[in-house]
Symmetry: C3
């Protein structure tokens, strides 16, 4: 698997550099950039993991919690710079529902085909459920409803709510890494694992991969309008489905691997943890960052995006609350993802 | 009870035939048709049950899952033919909320007056909760929100979503009849039961009763407009409350009987199972069938209908999630039904 | 604590009388009235508690369930008389979300700082969850959605729904005081407690405090418009945040005290019970009372108010459903309160 990804990287990265300077068609460049980002995200994830192991469980947990969605953050920053606020919001939406429905759904399905019933820790699932209700539902629905009543308050509300959400995310880290770390087996597993790379090597690889992702992200963002026009897909559909799947490919593979090893706790933590990170860390950081660009990004998403996110959170919360999963629950999550995908396709 | 129903049938069915050819008033014909459908639905249910027992648990379960709401399907097909799409959607809404709030509510209330606390299987309740969240909430809210943004996509979205929902319904049957049938005591009970009628007799009775229901349904549908006008009730109110109660009278009586025997698992399975069947089998089948009529029916329900269905699902999920019921929970479900009924009455 | 409150009362009550007749500025009078209502509400609570203990658990429970939010009721009646329907609805909203998010949130947080994990009775939490879903979500969302479709039905629907809700509240009392009183430890605790005051003295104090609250409420309501204008806060913000915090100050202190004694059951009962009382007793009583004033009050709240209430109920239900709490859950509830507060501030 990792060998295949490295081959993909060795082919696509040079191709994208060549293609850019030879002015290949935008659709080709977009496809190559997508194909290059998947292995790069994987490499960044492995480097972050090595640094986390070297740094000890607390700093390591903090690193995973902030750099875990670096690819998503980099793509979004380039899109913001380009003024593509709709694409950024669409890809944030897509990442949240993709992690909740596609990553968790595939884990439930694949794991459920192998094992008739899989169990996971209900306490963590419960805390995460409440966090998602806060970070996704309340933090996004309240600005949307209030702004619908008075559109002028959009930006001031967004900044205020972003501060609260980011603070709660940090409190959540403090909870899982300090005061209640015994509840979370993740940090303990981190201690047992061996680092793949030395600290120095991991930092170098992380820096190089980040630079390469930035290059590919710019390519992706610059070609998105033409691709949308030529393929007849809306920019929102590309953001919600295509960009989100690419940005979260690493999460998909690790979660499914864990489900196959019957470690459903870890699989669910990857899916839900990544959604929470997008909603409660990446999104507020982008709201703040956008203040330095021409057009500020608010927390006010479109109603279809909001509906998709709220229903995804509710479904996953219902599926997870009994602490058990089976293949049908996976099929339901995937079914919900397809229904939402159909909606964005036709929109 | 069954004797009384047979007497009702023997009186009302000939009366409706006579009334139709003597051109009695529409209000009278509507009332007679309603009174005839109740025992006919009961007879169809008993015949289906006999056939199911003769066919073995798997085919039997499949039969119950597809013919269980045949009356509802037949009435709806005649209404679609007549172009009464609003009435069809109203009666689907009414069947879903009626089964969830009225059938389950009466079971909780009546059972709870006899027993202080009744217990049921939480795992099945959980799976059904998630199915309802998918089949009722997600499958209907997503088309409504997306269509509100772009009305042109209503029909293409409805067909796409219907395919997904029907597929998930079939996967749910595969789950409960094959891969996880040990979780569901229903099929085992089917094996133990003795058939009321022989296979041949049951098939004959089913065919006759279906033909009679079709006759009464046509009468009902043809008189509904005049009845609405003369009694000052909107067609939506008649669909949501009157038609839905008639079409689900059989479910009401069996569920309450089971609650009185402290078999709350079976009572809840009837209520929730019937709602799921309406939402995930009857509704998509009607969407497909409507393509052969003059005007296609979409999955886009009115906001009051959607609100009523979503809140019913949420309430029943909250009531069922602890695996226990009492009379107050029954009173709450009935209270919610009355509140929704008041809404549709005044609308 | 109680000594401090008495000192506050002895200072503020005479000041408010003097200030009223010397025509001090409205902002000063508003502030003094607020400061006077807090200790008066505390005195009324203590008098009600004494009367309840003397009356035995059943009548006592009934008294607490009807007089527990007398302050809120009195303020609202004066505001209705003044035609300030928006302020009344805002303060009802504020009381519901304040009790759910602020009172429960502070209890979870303060208790959770002292104890790593606090447990409470899941059965009661479950029954209360369903009651809130019914009394807050269904009883308020259904009128809002149906009225949005047809604005003319607002008042007839409100009266009908209010009757149902009030009836269910009485059934809920019958459940907790008669048929299932063994589930609720509250009434038993009432039996063990000793009354602070004799019946006669308690009745006298209650009467005097009620009269004084009525005086202060009139002052508060008469000055609210000027205060809104001079401080640049909307009347809705004053109603949702300021009036609600003042009216529920007693609940705040007792719930937090209970949380610190690790009696999370009682703390949650105060928070959720008070919300239920506002939604299912005070609100319908005000709908009926408003029929005797110039302008009737309907159950149709604004969308921001509805959104805030629905999300508060969902969040508390998610936090409570596992029967455990910790400081992070408290921080989440408080975070949600701040997010909603930001919304009403900017609105």
């Amino acid at each position: 698997m990792q060998r295949l990804l490295m081959i993909l990287l060795v082919i696509t990265f040079p191709l994208s550099v060549i293609g850019k300077y030879l002015h290949w068609s935008d659709v080709a460049l977009f496809a190559i950039a997508c194909a290059a980002i998947i292995p790069l995200a994987g490499v960044m994830g492995r480097a972050t993991e090595s640094i986390a192991i070297h740094s000890g469980p607390k700093i390591g947990g903090l690193m995973n919690a902030t750099f875990g969605n670096a690819v998503e953050l980099i793509i979004s920053l380039f899109a913001l710079k380009q003024g593509l606020i709709g694409v950024v919001q669409a890809s944030l939406t897509g990442s949240i529902i993709g992690n909740l429905l596609l990553v968790a759904g595939l884990s439930f399905l694949v794991g459920g085909i192998k094992f008739p019933q899989q169990k996971f820790n209900r306490t963590i699932a419960g805390t995460n459920s409440a966090m998602m209700l806060l970070g996704v539902v309340i933090a996004l629905v309240i600005p949307a409803i209030f702004t619908a009543t008075n559109p002028k308050i959009s930006n001031s509300m967004s900044i205020g709510v972003s501060v609260v959400v980011l603070l709660l995310y940090l409190l959540g880290l403090f909870f899982s890494l300090y005061t209640h770390r015994n509840l979370f087996n993740y940090t303990e597993e981190l201690e047992e694992e061996e680092a793949e790379w030395s600290m120095k090597k991991a930092l170098l690889i992380l820096a190089l991969a980040t630079a390469a992702v930035a290059f590919e992200s710019e390519l992706l963002v610059h070609t998105i309008e033409t691709v949308s026009h030529e393929l007849g897909w809306s920019e929102v559909f590309i953001g919600v489905i295509i960009v989100a799947i690419i940005g979260n490919a690493a999460e998909h593979s690790s979660a499914i691997l864990m489900a196959l090893r019957n470690k459903m706790d870890v699989a669910l933590e990857i899916a839900v943890g990544s959604s929470l990170q997008i909603a409660m860390f990446v999104t507020p950081v982008l709201v703040f960052a956008s203040l330095f660009f021409a057009e500020p990004m608010s927390l006010v998403f479109s109603w279809p995006e909001l509906g998709a996110m709220v229903l995804s959170v509710l479904l996953i919360n219902f599926l997870a609350q009994d602490g058990e999963s089976n293949w049908l629950e996976g099929a339901m999550a995937l079914g919900a993802y397809v229904i939402i995908g159909i909606g964005f396709y036709f929109l």
